[in-house]
């Protein structure tokens, strides 16, 4: 059975992994007969957002790995303990956590820096020939890690400002509909806009199905 590392960034659209997207990915993996291996880096989240008020919660602090464990019902592995050579593929759901915790794109844009554990893991996964998939805003992490060297074709949907920053990091942005995917076969990368465009949860699950099938097809 294929094992796919699902790289999480917390739990909640505004400061962690987007919950619906993560569930859509987990369901799609199960339907495709693959096993999800949830993992996340250690470290403090950029901040905690009160999702009712829609603003940062003053004085609160949460750990990326601990909060990510909510999404996987407690079954999660610290990212440093996952051997990229031991998985078939890597999948990164979206949510602001990808742009706030996995890297600091949310504040630094094209000059962002990637969490060192994430940078190291993705470089080793790609070096081992593992396909990498990213949803929603998470492709900016791939643009930062691989843009200058591999120039991957990626999508974050159709937002012109974000697309420009993806290009500035050396990747090639491709416009894409909510429930569709962009595939870069030579680099073994697949991306899908999910809630960057999706108007409802159904589109997210439809897009995730197509995305996961392609990710598994890219496995050697």
């Amino acid at each position: 059975m294929r094992k796919v590392a699902v790289l999480l960034s917390g739990c909640g659209v505004f400061d962690g992994s987007e919950i619906h997207e993560t569930c859509a990915a987990l369901l799609a993996l199960q339907k495709a007969g693959a096993q999800a291996l949830a993992c996340a880096p250690r470290g403090t989240q950029m901040h905690v957002v009160n999702h009712l008020a829609g603003e940062p919660a003053a004085g609160e602090s949460r750990d990326i790995l601990v909060e990510s464990a909510r999404l996987s019902r407690g079954e999660i592995t610290p990212l440093t303990e996952v051997d990229p050579a031991g998985v078939s593929a890597v999948l990164i759901p979206g949510g602001f956590g990808a742009a706030k915790n996995l890297c600091d794109f949310a504040t630094a844009g094209a000059d962002c820096r990637v969490h060192p554990e994430v940078q190291d893991f993705l470089l080793r996964a790609q070096g081992a020939g593992k396909p990498i998939g990213a949803m929603c805003i998470a492709p900016v992490v791939l643009a930062r890690v691989f843009g200058a060297d591999l120039h991957p074709r990626l999508t974050i949907g159709n937002d012109p400002t974000t697309a420009e920053m993806v290009n500035k990091m050396g990747a090639e942005h491709v416009g894409c509909c909510a429930d569709d995917i962009v595939v870069d076969v030579p680099n073994r990368m697949v991306t899908t806009p999910a809630y960057m465009i999706a108007g409802h949860i159904g589109e997210v699950f439809d897009g995730a199905d197509k995305f996961v099938v392609k990710l598994l097809e890219l496995c050697s």
Copy 2:
């Protein structure tokens, strides 16, 4: 379009609403053409569980409504502001939050007390003829609120100890498989075991589809 109140209890299987079950319910509602209206009571969670360690986090405190908002991407209504007469049905996902925050079944068993906002809301919804659905452990809330008067037929799967407590509260427990449902037509209630039995996320989504279709059929 039918509007269904989705009554949440936090965000995370061990101290709030079960995340996969909630997403499964939201997706099933969208596929059935119904609108989900996320809502939750105010108040402090019984506790915060560190989902990585699997134990309570000392010194942490979180609000039920604020954490529930993570599951609905920030779009949520305080339960006291939802008019039960204005929705078509009520749906309660599972997760320990149903037994820790919506009531104190997790510690008090059959002698549990229900959160006053939840008790009031459910009594008024039932009084207005609205169907009520509950997943996983959440049927214990219905057993406590309606058991003595309506003796509803409910399922929490097949755990004998929990089933006995459901019966003790005046309801009639019925054994049920992971992806199946128990329907009480006269009382307009439908329940499904979800992760009380389910071995993987696919069974939860399959059960939620059947559960939601029946819940909407029970709408007058």
